[in-house]
């Protein structure tokens, strides 16, 4: 008899609790990528996650590391304090688009611009999943939702927010990448991005965010397969994948170094405190 070999197992950073996600929802895939990355970095015992209000509200039951459930949109503020109290810990928030880019936009922008050494895992499904499919800040023009029944009318509802592009302008951001999960190659790429963000955090480089363009088959009213198709056809051209900020690629050790270089002609910035 051949010797048994484990080729695939549940990441240690996931609990054994079955998730409540709808069939075909990609939240579960992203949880797995987060957990695998933490395992590979050997950081399960040092990790503290902050769950949002949204479909992933119960993430505190699914990750086996210490977890905190935050108020809607406030995860970046909670994570900020958790990291300040225990800077040696790996601190991440896990947030949806309504949580991150609508009610929590102020917290998002300010945690980023402060250069908090935290990692934000951002699941963008262009809809409010948990509350039954209302228009989100990331809902595409003409996309039909419960509260944009005739399609998002940009004359009235304005335009979606491109989060990575917006945050990339801020000096505190060390790393911002947009990825997706539409096929195995994309999933592998998403995992790499998440792991890199965690590594950057532990190396003290600054704020890191990975945006995952995902689906919500239930509230998009599609089969999981059709949802992936719609994502590829509409979401990806609107939310182009790629690295929006990587201070190391830009030749700097940290976001702080990059910020200093950018302001090299400003005496107050380069001269230090009198």
């Amino acid at each position: 008899m051949a010797e048994e070999q484990v080729v695939f197992e549940r990441p240690k950073t996931l609990t054994t609790k079955p998730t409540h996600y709808c069939p075909g929802c990609a939240h579960g895939i992203v949880h797995r990528l987060v957990a695998e990355s933490i395992d590979e970095l050997g950081k399960g015992g040092d990790a503290v996650g902050v769950a949002p209000v949204g479909c992933s509200v119960l993430a505190y039951d699914y990750f086996s590391c210490d977890m905190i459930e935050a108020a809607h949109g406030r995860a970046p503020s909670v994570a900020t304090a958790v990291k300040r109290v225990h800077p040696e810990n790996l601190v991440f928030s896990y947030q949806g688009d309504g949580d991150l880019a609508s009610i929590g936009m102020a917290e998002t922008v300010h945690a980023a611009t402060r250069g908090e050494n935290i990692t934000v895992i951002f699941y963008n499904n262009a809809i409010y999943g948990m509350t039954g499919g209302q228009m989100a800040p990331t809902t595409l023009p003409n996309q039909v939702t419960q509260t944009s029944p005739y399609g998002r009318n940009t004359k009235e509802a304005g335009y979606p927010v491109r989060v990575c592009e917006l945050l990339a302008t801020l000096d505190g951001v060390a790393y911002a990448e947009r990825v997706t999960i539409d096929k195995p190659a994309s999933v592998r790429k998403a995992k790499k991005a998440i792991k890199k963000a965690f590594e950057y955090q532990m190396e003290g480089r600054g704020y890191t965010i990975v945006e995952i363009v995902g689906t919500c088959p239930t509230n998009w009213g599609m089969t999981p397969k059709d949802a992936i198709g719609w994502l590829e056809e509409n979401m990806l051209p609107y939310y182009p994948l790629g690295v929006y900020r990587d201070c190391v690629e830009e030749g700097f050790e940290t976001a702080a170094e990059a910020a200093l270089a950018r302001a090299k002609d400003v005496p107050i910035v380069t001269g230090g405190v009198a």
Binding site: V78, A79, A81, E107
Partner: protein, 354 residues
């Protein structure tokens, strides 16, 4: 205890908080609590602590929530309009049984109101700090010394009962200078085995959370917390009595207005009116036992407040309808004079005295 130093109430409070082991302060600028944040921004870097000016009071209170979950002694401070924004986070703290200290240096309201001292947030602090069935312990200092002492106690009680604790001060106490003896630096802080510090591979994961999707679980949690509230109601009532032994008219006043009420009591006694003062030090739990003890001699009660009449409700709840319970107050940021209060005592005395 060390020597006495002259300090503003806001600064004494900040200095004592640091001695109570507070190393994390989160706030957003607002008058009249400015000196508190300014003091924290100076001292925290020197004691290895964190001062963080948040982008809003909402963010600041959620930072407090995070720091508390992570096991730190932490606080935030603001004034009335900013405290309203903190309501969300305080409710979440109560729901997740997280300890933390919130300071409200009250100003006039509603809305933007005024920047002058007021006591208009009594109801908010004691009844409706946020949504859901919960209470917070509320302390009402009336001297700079008490500002220092009570912040110390506030941190201890927050950790003991796993609850948010509020110091309800006002612009008068915050800005006033008085000699103060700061408490000694605390030694050991309590263990917090429930904190989200990272499992370090040594225990099951800790979760800070206020969500209970099963109604029976939420009800059980609320009932468990209510038992803690019972203990607080029984053990933590604090008040100070002044000339109450034979008092036929009992004034009830807290914070800045208790100082004015006390002067009025002294003047009224000179006129032969049998009047005394009960000063609630804890607003929740309201000192019902001490107030009940005055009912033997009291013919009438006068609640003196810098508002339109809020604490007077609690006085009525305790003493009932058999004797008159009246309110005297100035509001909108106006501080009553002792003579105004004296006049109110005389009027009430004429009504109920023989």
């Amino acid at each position: 205890m060390g020597e006495k130093v002259l300090m503003k109430g806001n600064e004494a409070l900040a200095a004592a908080a640091v001695r109570a082991g507070c190393r994390f302060y989160f706030g957003y600028p607002i008058t009249p609590q400015t000196e508190l944040a300014a003091y924290m921004s100076k001292i925290m870097p020197k004691v290895g602590g964190t001062f963080l000016q948040a982008e809003s009071e909402i963010s600041a209170i959620n930072m407090l929530y995070g720091a508390a979950a992570a096991g730190a002694r932490a606080m935030t401070s603001s004034s009335s309009p900013g405290v309203s924004l903190k309501g969300e986070g305080i409710s979440y703290m109560a729901g997740a049984d997280l300890p933390g200290v919130i300071v409200n240096v009250e100003r006039g309201g509603p809305g933007l109101g005024s920047i002058q001292p007021s006591q208009q947030d009594y109801w908010q602090a004691t009844r409706a700090m946020g949504h859901g069935d919960f209470f917070q312990i509320v302390y009402a200092p009336n001297t700079v010394q008490e500002m220092a002492d009570m912040i110390f106690t506030a941190f201890e009680k927050a950790d003991e009962y796993l609850t948010p604790v509020m110091i309800l001060a006002d612009g008068l106490l915050g800005q006033m200078m008085e000699p103060v003896e700061l408490p000694d630096e605390i030694g050991e802080l309590p263990e917090k085995p429930w904190a989200t510090t990272g499992t370090k591979g040594k225990r099951e994961h800790n979760i800070a959370n206020s969500l209970y999707l099963q109604s029976n679980e939420l009800e059980a949690k609320l009932l468990e917390r209510a038992k803690r509230y019972e203990i607080i109601l029984d053990k933590e009532q604090q008040s100070e009595g002044f000339m109450l032994d034979d008092a036929e008219i009992v004034l009830v006043a807290f914070g800045a207005s208790s100082r004015i009420a006390r002067s009025a009591v002294v003047k009224a006694r000179e006129e032969g009116i049998k009047v005394g003062l009960l000063r609630p030090i804890t607003l929740w739990p309201f000192p019902a036992k001490a107030l009940e003890a005055t009912m033997g001699t009291a013919k009438a009660y006068l609640s003196v407040e810098m508002n339109m009449g809020q604490m007077v409700d609690d006085v009525r709840l305790v003493v009932g309808k058999d004797v008159p319970v009246e309110h005297f107050g100035r509001t909108g940021g106006i501080i009553p004079t002792p003579d105004e209060v004296l006049e109110a005592i005389r009027t009430l005395n004429a009504k109920v005295g023989e």
